[in-house]
């Protein structure tokens, strides 16, 4: 399965069993993406906060 990166629009391969909250990387632009929904599958930019 694949989705499009919300930043650079390139194709990101994702595993089907990702749970909500899990983080993945876009290999093209390096952005960290967060799974926000499983059905329908959706991602958004993940921005961690500085400690």
């Amino acid at each position: 399965m694949s989705v499009n990166c919300v930043i650079c629009d390139s194709e990101v391969q994702v595993e089907q069993d990702l749970s909500v909250g899990e983080i993945l990387d876009c290999d093209e632009c390096g952005v960290e993406l967060e799974v926000t929904s499983q059905a329908p599958f959706a991602i958004d930019v993940f921005e961690e906060e500085e400690k």
Partner: protein, 299 residues
């Protein structure tokens, strides 16, 4: 949707000029600390200001989000070494030569670090640890050693790699389990950036030190880099020696914990201020699960 500033902040910059990086860095430091470090380049081999992915977040605060930083992917080829050395006692490595946040600490039992070809005023040098973390160190605390002695220890470390596991023994897993439980009974403080069982340690340093000691696997220094190591596993597959990457429920602070036997885990817990043992279930009531990795595997 991502904003334009997010896009700018998150982009990976592949090409940048060293001069512009240094200039921007100096200007930022002057604004922040009233002092502009007189950075010089001893050798033209360094391309850009190199950081690991996990370090980028901290360095952005010092450098500014618009300053371009190259992400270090290859420790052997992308930086120029000026000298090799160690420290005699735990020594802070800062994110800035003018007194920035604690990037990490060097401890005497660490593998040798290398001094890179940036220098700054006031006796600050830029060093890189074997785990690839970089930061500014007081030059006087850095005791130089022979390159022939240092290089093999630095370069030949068994580093955790992405998408693959390394072999570990059943015995080493059990030893990790015992050692981690033992540490949790001691009153070891949480110190952000710390790496010492005596003076304090943070979550990713705990996993880094335990993995190196028991598995001979060198993990990156930061949780954001550790979460990319090994292979992804499901929450339902968690087993002794796995890493859980999580963020606090109230703030998206990155955090890492080591899974132990009997459904428990150990982590250096910021809110409790110490190394803490608890069940995975309880942990995940307070932290959002962001992924799990298996670094070492019995084969």
């Amino acid at each position: 949707m991502a904003t334009a500033s997010t896009k700018s902040k998150k982009r990976r910059v592949r090409e940048s000029t060293l001069e512009s990086l240094l200039l921007a860095f100096q200007e930022r430091e002057k604004r922040r600390y009233g002092v502009a470090p007189e950075l010089t380049l001893a050798d033209s081999g360094v391309q850009g200001f190199l950081v690991t992915r996990g370090q980028r977040h901290r360095y952005e605060e010092v450098l500014g989000a618009d300053v371009e930083m190259g992400v270090l992917e290859d420790a052997e080829n992308e930086a120029t070494t000026v000298a090799w050395g160690r420290v005699r006692s735990e020594t802070p490595i800062l994110a800035s030569p003018c007194g920035g946040k604690l990037a990490s600490t060097l401890i005497p039992e660490d593998r040798p670090a290398r001094r890179l070809s940036f220098t700054a005023q006031e006796g600050c040098i830029l060093v890189q640890m074997a785990c690839r973390t970089m930061g500014w160190l007081s030059a006087e605390s850095f005791e130089e050693m022979e390159a022939d002695d240092a290089r093999p220890l630095f370069f030949n470390a068994r580093r955790a790699i992405q998408k693959e596991t390394l072999e570990v023994t059943r015995r080493s897993l059990l030893e990790l389990d015992c050692a981690a439980r033992c540490l949790a009974t001691k009153d070891i403080n949480y110190v952000l950036g710390g790496r010492s069982f005596e003076t304090g340690i943070d979550c990713s340093a705990l996993s880094q030190r335990l993995f190196e000691r028991h598995f001979d696997i060198l993990l990156p220094r930061h949780s954001g880099d550790q979460r990319r190591c090994g292979r992804r596993i499901l929450r339902s597959e968690l087993a002794l020696g796995d890493l859980i990457y999580a963020t606090a429920r109230h703030k998206k602070w990155p955090h890492i914990a080591i899974v132990l036997s009997d459904g428990e885990l150990v982590h250096a817990c910021r809110s409790r201020g110490r190394i803490f043992l608890e069940s995975v279930e309880t942990f995940l009531e307070h932290y959002q699960f962001r992924g799990a990795r298996r670094i070492g595997e019995v084969r």
